[in-house]
């Protein structure tokens, strides 16, 4: 049973990591806390849902669409909205993101109603067994692998491409980056697009595993916060470490103390990590 709990925790952690990776990128590079992150995850989930419901498209095919669509959306939001206040105080971007969150959630609510929906694929609850003790849900394993793929892709983009160099330069010193000819506005927009695109991917996977509704975003934003903080900013490994740490502690914690203690455990860890190691478990660069 302990082994099963560990597996549950690790797999849930993978999903948490995928949810948080986009938020971590945007926060790390642009110093924006994207409160609307959960709403973007919701949009990703609905993209998959509608493609499935109308065209019968498989979620793993529509994954590409939800990433692309959300990337474009994120690019636009940054370029034509957040960009106008980017140099005002950090509160301002925070509140703007909050306004965007209300807008997205309620636009979704008005157009799709609050009905609960589910992407009903035949393999949604597929599983396989290891020995007699451990049952492993297949989709969660796939989600886990996908997190690793996306992390590697991000790592590659940030470290091995010109775009990545621009992003890193901008995050370290905005004025210097501009002096050496980086188009800062565009770089920011692409970064935001990438972060939101990752949220779209998380949404697609979420929609296979859980029922979705326009008001699902808030909880997910909070979870993503916790993961980003525990893992620390500034590295692509951070969200994975944070996600796993959260997933495993929650799994064991709720098993020992009871299920109502899940949030108490995660947020206590959050506060403790902040107080003891403000830069996260990995203690990445500032």
């Amino acid at each position: 049973m302990l082994l099963q709990i560990l597996v549950n925790g690790i797999l849930m952690g993978g999903l948490y990591a995928l949810m948080a990776i986009g938020m971590s990128l945007i926060w790390g590079v642009m110093n924006i806390i994207n409160i609307a992150h959960g709403s973007f995850i919701m949009l990703g989930a609905f993209t998959t849902y509608w493609l499935f419901a109308i065209l019968g498209m498989d979620p793993f095919v529509s994954l590409a669409f939800s990433i692309a669509l959300l990337f474009a959306l994120g690019y636009g939001v940054q370029r034509y909205l957040i960009n106008y206040v980017i140099r005002a105080s950090a509160f301002i971007t925070l509140i703007l993101a909050f306004g965007i969150e209300i807008f997205i959630n309620n636009a979704a609510l008005v157009s799709w109603t609050a009905d609960i929906r589910k992407v009903q694929v035949a393999y949604g609850a597929a599983n396989f067994s290891l020995g007699n003790y451990v049952t492993i849900p297949t989709i969660r394993v796939v989600a886990f692998l996908l997190v690793i793929v996306i992390s590697i892709a991000f790592f590659y983009i940030l470290n091995r491409t010109n775009l990545g160099r621009s992003i890193r330069a901008t995050s370290q010193d905005l004025d210097a980056a501009r002096l050496v000819g980086v188009d800062v506005a565009k770089t920011y927009a692409i970064t935001f697009g990438l972060g939101v695109g990752a949220a779209g991917a998380a949404g697609t996977l979420w929609s296979i595993l859980f029922p979705i509704s326009p008001i699902m975003g808030g909880e997910l934003t909070l979870k993503s916060f916790v993961v980003v903080i525990i893992g620390g900013l500034g590295s692509m490994l951070g969200p994975i470490i944070g996600g796993l740490a959260l997933g495993i502690t929650e799994a064991f914690g709720t098993n020992w103390f009871g299920s109502t203690y899940g949030n108490l455990i995660s947020f206590t860890i959050l506060v403790l990590v902040l107080i003891i190691r403000p830069k996260g478990i990995l203690g990445g660069a500032d």
Binding site: I33, Y84, V85, I100, N106, V110, Y261, L264
Partner: protein, 322 residues
């Protein structure tokens, strides 16, 4: 100079008079609406002390609201105490909590402080949901105020009004004392403040405690007015966000900014929900977005500088875009 002060005092007195007399000529709902505005004005002003003046963006101020409410509920319902006792206990209890939590958390800066306070509030909500004495997630009743209907409305309105005046008055006094300068020094450059001999830890903690104190008082009155509390709504992140939006919308770091913010935001959202049954929150989101983009310095900046119109908006955008 003297003349100007006199003018301000006159205008202030005039407005106060209107506010004090306003319930006498209004129906119950408008008094209740006014009570809500005052409550948010208290909370936004209290947030302003730590967020606006000191520059520490607390994202968990609702925790003081919830604690104030629950202290009141427990003292009145379980210990049978009088509201006056519970009210004071709520304020001081919230302030004490602010000191305890502030000592470790105020060492953090920027976003980290914001998230830590958010975490404290969420953890507290989860704790209250699991405690026996708070009756868990199912919520707790309070005794109802034994007055005529009109009397109840007057009572809560003037309690809120009194608390708001206390909040603004104390904030004003603190700002003009040495502590006020310490806080602003901390906001501008904490290291420099430290090096010129300001006890930054003490100043920050006091500011946080004051913020908690007033928010706790508001929570106490709220709990008594509702006569029922549930952890979810009492510790809702949305309430914190509302305080911040109001403070920013009105003008952060200005004494009357949050007050103006609370007033205008509540009126806007009430009007919208009168006309649009479902889409009002959507329009509210739009208003927040537009306000932030065009007037990031708050309404009070517009009012004091008397700048209106397109050119002011464009100036703001030019100043903050890349």
């Amino acid at each position: 100079m003297e003349k100007k002060k006199l003018q301000y005092a006159l205008i202030g007195g005039f407005i106060l008079l209107i506010v004090v007399l306003f319930p006498l000529v209004s129906n119950n709902f408008i008094i209740r609406f006014g009570t809500d505005i005052l409550m948010f004005a208290i909370m936004a002003s209290a947030w302003n002390i730590i967020g606006g003046y000191t520059g520490y963006a607390s994202f968990g101020n609702v925790v003081f609201f919830g604690i104030g409410g629950y202290i009141t509920a427990i003292l009145m319902e379980k210990a049978g105490m009088h509201f006056a006792v519970a009210y004071l206990a709520a304020g001081f209890g919230a302030a004490l909590f602010a000191v305890l939590i502030g000592l470790p958390v105020l060492r953090l800066h920027g976003h980290y402080f914001a998230i830590a306070t958010l975490g404290v509030a969420e953890a507290m909500k989860a704790l209250v949901q699991n405690l026996e004495i708070t009756e868990g997630n199912s919520g707790i009743y309070l005794p109802m105020l034994d007055l005529s209907i009109k009397g109840q409305y007057y009572f809560f309105f003037y309690m809120m009004l009194g608390t708001l005046i206390l909040t603004l008055l104390l904030t004003y006094l603190v700002l003009n004392a040495k502590l006020g300068y310490s806080l602003i020094a901390i906001r501008e450059d904490e290291d420099a403040a430290n090096s010129v001999g300001i006890n930054t830890t003490l100043s920050k903690t006091i500011a946080f405690a004051l913020s908690g104190f007033f928010t706790g008082l508001a929570g106490s009155i709220y709990a008594y007015q509702q006569a029922f509390l549930k952890p979810g709504p009492a510790f809702s992140v949305q309430t914190t966000v509302k305080m911040i939006v109001m403070a920013v919308f009105g003008g952060m770091g200005k004494l009357f900014g949050p007050l103006i913010g609370a007033f205008s935001i509540e009126i806007i959202s009430e009007t919208l929900s009168n006309y649009f049954l479902v889409a009002h929150t959507l329009f509210f989101g739009t208003v927040v977005i537009l306000a932030i983009v065009f007037t990031p310095k708050g309404l009070i900046d517009m009012i004091t500088q008397r700048k209106f119109g397109i050119s002011y908006f464009l100036e703001n955008i030019r100043e903050h875009r890349i």
